[in-house]
Symmetry: C2
Subunit: 195 residues, 2 copies
DNA sequence: TGCCTTAATTAACCTAGGTTAATTCTTTCC
DNA sequence: GGAAAGAATTAACCTAGGTTAATTAAGGCA
């Protein structure tokens, strides 16, 4: 898989959003990050002021508390833009790490430089807005579920929303996505079998 | 306060973001919503596909669970854009209501029509991106705090972040912002006094 | 001023989920 | 195939916060 192919599929991903984008002004070079299952694209606390594109694979956003407890913010399946909007925009240390759940191919651009070149393109801006809207909406829905639903309900929703993940990833990761421990999840699963 | 003044201050709010915006294409009429303390701009479950501008006042975003438990997603102080990005964009029922914490003056545009007219303006698009980035960043930080910090820590952070609110709003609302009950908050406050 | 309503505190009890640790069940890899 | 490492389950116990309810403190407002 060469650099040109990766860039092409990055652009195709944007083009598919339905806006005309003129890519000719983009001169920024890409970095290529082949990440093995279990490895991190970047860790919590690092600087990650880049725009990442998950070409193939599956990753999770994971943050860990002072006490060492892991929390999986979200799973992301290719093809998709990934990374921390906050870290890109504010250039502050990122609040979570990105870990490959399976072997993944990721490319990246330096966001400031990339945006400086692309902000003049109206089609790109519309795509970027669209992207921000989407991630925001997902966060809004997840926040709502967290507040309104029990852990059991969230588990059932997870199974419905990610049927393909349910049997692919370790239960620990599902638990940390639900905001509970693996032990608690195991209890819930048992209760569901019984009930 | 007449309609023209309100629209002017809406536009001034955007102009202050530092992008040139041509407002001449905007023909949409505004609605004016004077909301009394305690009243709702809209309730959870309604359609709220409008872009709201909080001209003066203070509101909170509040969602309530099946079980009747209130959760305050955020407080918003004027001047600011408010409303549900999700409801605007997807035209689905809104997941939370907006309640005036103090008497507030709000204006609104029908988002679809508004955006249709303004999307051709690059300056506006950049402002909109900037706005989305900001609300997303705030959500990202709040999510992180929720996962990583105890209720006590979150209360102390709240007091530091919103010193002006601390003594202005009822503790019930603070508790619901922290994701705990008023009883639990009272216990925490007592513990802090003692400790 | 005093009444009425709402807000805050306190206490007693309950529960979901956390913690630790022992026990099985799976992978993986030599 | 078998040893070692990692996952999942189960059990016993603990704790933060929820629930209910009784008590006190504060705001409106007639």
């Amino acid at each position: 898989m060469d650099s040109q192919q990766l860039q092409d599929s990055f652009q195709a991903y944007f083009n598919d959003m339905g806006h005309k984008i003129d890519w000719s002004k983009l001169t920024q070079p890409i970095d290529i990050h082949p990440i093995k299952k279990g490895d991190y694209l970047f860790q919590q606390g690092e600087c990650a002021e880049r725009l990442y594109f998950l070409h193939t694979g599956l990753v999770r956003y994971v943050s860990v508390s002072e006490a060492g407890k892991e929390f999986t913010q979200t799973f992301a399946k290719s093809p998709r833009i990934i990374g921390s909007t906050r870290a890109m925009v504010t250039q502050s240390p990122v609040l979570f790490g990105i870990q490959a759940v399976e072997d993944s191919m990721i490319i990246s651009y330096h966001w400031q430089a990339f945006f400086q070149e692309m902000r003049h393109d109206r089609g790109f801006l519309e795509c970027y807005c669209h992207f921000l809207e989407q991630v925001f909406i997902i966060k809004e829905e997840r926040e709502s579920a967290f507040v309104k639903d029990s852990a059991e309900k969230r588990y059932l929703d997870f199974c419905a929303d990610f049927p393909e993940l349910k049997n692919k990833i370790p239960q620990q990761q599902i638990a940390s996505y639900l905001g509970i421990t693996a032990v608690a999840l195991s209890r819930i699963r048992q209760r569901l079998k019984r009930g």
